[in-house]
Symmetry: C2
Subunit: 331 residues, 2 copies
């Protein structure tokens, strides 16, 4: 059975995997995240080499590679808008990788085999492709995957296909403005969803709480002033029952619900799938927002409601989805 | 050449037309808007009868009918969420029309001809289908049509097809929240886009201006207090150079730009197409918003910008699009 390699370039690591069309994983590797364009090429090549080494004789079944990248990949395979990884901005994925991958193939004795398919897409799109091929979006002709991490990423499936838009820049759902009076965002606008309903958003809302005179426990946990408070301190304090942290999570939930309801209104997906690092905090963090979503939006409950569910593939969604794109499983 | 009948049910009239796949119009009729479910069926049947009468011997070339309805049409052809036309809520379009249309066909001597295709969709979706088949979205595989009227409607084209969503309830773009501190919307949420960037929104922003002590000219034109001010008074006063009206239009423009930029980020359409009654006010009303969009959004200018253009079909977009759906021109 054909095997695809999927590589997901995240802020702390590159996760690589080799899997077949059934989603059976044959190999998995991790290397540190790159800081530069050259570093990115080296890291991707190292990942591929290690995966082929792990596959051993199975290497011959590899038919394609997919790359999940921390930015938007245009039609020429050039990387843009790499918010949290400026060093790799402008990487020309296809051009830089082609000859290096040929060396790797030669080293593995695969020079004679059919050329590999090479797909590259935004990490949010890859997470959506992963959930569509192997996870919570299986069988959905319309779905949205929302990845809640430092920011908010995502991928949209419409009419059974990835919705990439006219320039492959679609699904920047974190940059949907939900509060025109909100804080500035790195994208240049004001009050983007990811300024509220992400890890960055939790920290922002915590600092607001501190500015109102609360947040003593949050500052203690952060070991500094309000500006030291991060999302994980809010979660830790909330777990202890700290009322300020619980109030911050309530506010986070109102914004989470607002964005989810907006996506339901615009896209009417069969389901909205929540993934990303923040999902690990579970019901403590997501419960209030999901309750608000159900109670306040037209699509939150009733016969035509849009259910919100948790992603099935966890941190591997991007790598699995990249492999699915490499295997051409997702149109 | 096959002919489609398109009927667009608006707040003041039902506009019906007969046209072929090239967009050549063979007949056009208008009847008053219905107030009830029975009235809607009667009005639609009357329209069809008049169109066939106008077509005369050409009636035999009709292959289908499309209906543009002021709400969301589910898979069973039942009408929901008829915000401004409560009387027709729950209309079971297909079930109510089938036998009545058979009578009309018999009356026109068409009983022996092939059954007509019957398509029914939201009026915003029909406007998008019209612009896709015959207007400003021709040749676009991804586009968004935004209709600015009393509220905000719209239709989305993705991967060359109408994006209808899992329950056919997609593209409710007017109910995207852009200001969580905004006024309540009829949909039950707070700060929906259509509370700002529509005719209703203009009136709301004008009342805010009055509450701040301005708006004398607006009240004079309205012949009453701030609550009497409507969108057209703002446009009239702005045309006179009234500073309060111009400030209201500036605020309107900031919200218009916010929603357009959100759609650009989420959908990356080849273009965004502005239609609906408000477009008739031209640059006076739309200019400030389009300038703000260009200046403040990542997709507002530059190499990967999403252009915003004016619809080509004017008030006929919905009827033409309905006919296109009747002709099965738009997937």
């Amino acid at each position: 059975m054909a095997v695809g390699l999927g590589l997901d370039v995240g802020g702390t690591k590159v996760l690589g995997c080799a899997l077949d069309a059934r989603g059976t994983v044959a190999a998995e590797v991790r290397v540190p995240s790159p800081k530069t364009q050259d570093g990115a090429v080296d890291a991707l090549v190292a990942c591929v080499r290690e995966l082929l080494h792990e596959l051993g004789p199975g290497s011959g079944e590899v038919t394609g590679i997919g790359l999940g990248l921390p930015g938007l990949v245009d039609e020429d395979g050039v990387l843009h808008e790499t918010a949290n990884m400026h060093g790799v901005e402008g990487l020309s994925v296809r051009a830089s990788l082609a000859s290096r991958l040929e060396e790797v193939r030669a080293g593995a004795g695969l020079s004679g085999s059919a050329p590999w398919r090479l797909a590259a897409d935004n990490d949010g799109a890859c997470a959506a492709a992963g959930e569509l091929a192997f996870g919570a979006a299986r069988g959905c002709s319309d779905a949205v995957v929302v990845t809640l991490g430092t920011g908010i990423g995502g991928g949209i499936i419409a009419n059974g296909r990835m919705l990439r838009g006219a320039r492959r820049f679609a699904a920047e759902i974190g940059h949907m403005v939900v509060d025109v009076h909100g804080p500035p965002c790195g994208c240049g606008r004001i009050g983007c969803w990811e300024q509220f309903a992400s890890g960055t958003g939790l920290a922002h809302l915590a600092r607001e709480r501190c500015a109102e005179g609360g947040g003593a426990r949050l500052c203690t946990l952060a070991g500094g002033g309000p500006e030291a408070v991060r999302g994980e301190h809010v979660v830790t304090a909330a777990r202890e029952g700290d009322p300020d942290a619980l109030a911050v999570i309530e506010a986070f939930g109102r914004y989470l619900a607002t964005g989810l309801a907006n996506l339901a209104e615009i896209l009417d997906p069969a389901r909205i799938i929540l993934g990303g690092g923040l999902v690990q905090a579970g019901d403590l963090l997501l419960g209030p927002g999901l309750a608000t979503y159900a109670a306040t939006s037209r699509r939150g409950s009733g016969a035509r409601s849009v259910p919100v569910v948790i992603a099935e593939l966890g941190e591997r969604a991007g790598a699995y989805g990249a492999a699915a794109l490499g295997l051409d499983l997702v149109p």
